[in-house]
Amino acid sequence: MNIYVLLKRTFDTEEKISISDGQIEDEGAEYIINPYDEYAVEEAINQRDAHGGEVTVVTVGDEESEKQLRTALAMGADQAVLINTEDDLEDGDSFTTAKILDAYFGDKEADLILAGNVAIDEASGQVGPRLAERLGINAITTITALEIDGETANIDKDVEGDVEKVETSLPLLVTCQQGLNDPRYPSLPGIMKAKKKPLEELELDDLDLDENDVEAKTETTTVFLPPEKEAGRILEGDVDEQVKELVSLLKDDKKVL
């Protein structure tokens, strides 16, 4: 099977977020594989091991993204592709990324494309389904189980907590939800091997695109932090007093009861 993973390098949101010059401050921040994309890498490896074929991990990013691609290779992916837009693009949005990936996938005949269901930084959740639409292939989002038999895929899809049992056919794009699998940690031999695995670097030019073709449809004008919350009030007294005071505050002050 010809398996691809869409991977994004993201800011680790467990980090404290601060803003300088109207941008999220990334000086010294940890970068990671988007956690939902880790499920995609793990699933791709498992599907390859079950059905044969190759796993190619693709990212649209800059030179820094090589580190996350190497991590995916160390987990067990076979090859990686970095579409480096650093010199060509200042800003992009989901439209931009999907259009670039569309150009990349044009001649690839992918059987299965896996992506995270959302990236934890910008959280648009659009690139996967947009790409599937462009490629004219089936797409199922937020999956928690995937079984492939020939051309048929049987999928568990998370729908706001319920599970839908879905049957569809390849070629297919899926976006991965928590619960699909437990992503492995790269092993030491895996890390050594990853250094020698092929990593292809492409630019927009190589995909016959220029910056106007992929110009973003949306623009971020401001980034800001939520207002500091004042320290809450700890209610005193015995349980009855605390509860009575709480109910009266919720009812009369906050008007939420």
């Binding site: 934890i120 971020t220 509860v243």
Partner: protein, 324 residues
Amino acid sequence: MGNKSLVIGEAKAGALRNVTLEAIAAAKQMDEDAEIVGMLCGESGIGDQAQEMIYHGADRVVTVEHNNLQTYTPEGYGQAIMAVADEESPDAIVMGHTAIGKDITPKIASKLDSGLISDAIGIEHEDGETVFTRPIYSGKAFEKKVIRSGRTFVTIRPNNIKPLERDSSQSGTVSTKDVDVKDIHTVIKDVIRKGSEGVDLSEANVIVAGGRGVKSEEGFKPLYDLADALGGAVGASRGACDAEYCDYSLQIGQTGKVVTPDLYIAVGVSGAIQHLAGMSNSKVIVAINKDAESNIFNVADYGIVGDLFEIIPTLTEEVKKIKS
């Protein structure tokens, strides 16, 4: 001719979802002079829901009824929505940021070659532009976003934009559009319901969430009683789900659901940063925990330090008194 905004409605268990009414209000906020056209998909008998959309501010509603629209599939809804979008050619499209909204809107945006701002929580007008606010970095920051080219297309997060008052004197036409919905490639063979009965967590106005401090599956019982008394839903932290006190469908946080109820009562929740990412934008937060040093007290408006098994039943009784 004036502008036109299309609101894609959604029903669940035979009733219109509240977020659809919020989407109508959002469309009004975006452009108060635009004609608001609602749309609904279903197998049949969705006229009453269409009427509700009119009572809540839609000028008219287009329904698409077909056997192949009994359950949501991206192909079926995609064809229905595209048929209506082609005919109406709206200047703006609004839908709820729900499971279906998240699934279908990127595909529609791709077909229409348009931008899409997802998960908006606020709408403003600045210098003649419509500006949308949305959470990023798991709710630890926000961005303001505008559409640069093409039509405006947005999904809105449930519980953030107030629906318009229901006014049953409003009238508007409900028309049915014939669409030959075909070539469905995905078959929903079964649905296993796991979420709590009744109030939907992502749309609940009140949430009572349990953490590890609840100690057991049995320990969640008083939380359900309190949620019932408040007309709310029960949620949980990852810790409580990992410990198998409750199903993962209840999980609130960075993985799991993001919620913004009017009232969030965190019970025995320590307040790990991943959990805060899912609930810290709630309007009023109450924390109940025996550990006074718990992180959850830092985001709470009101805190009670003590034994939840004593406090929650007392609170439930007190709530019942004022509700009766």
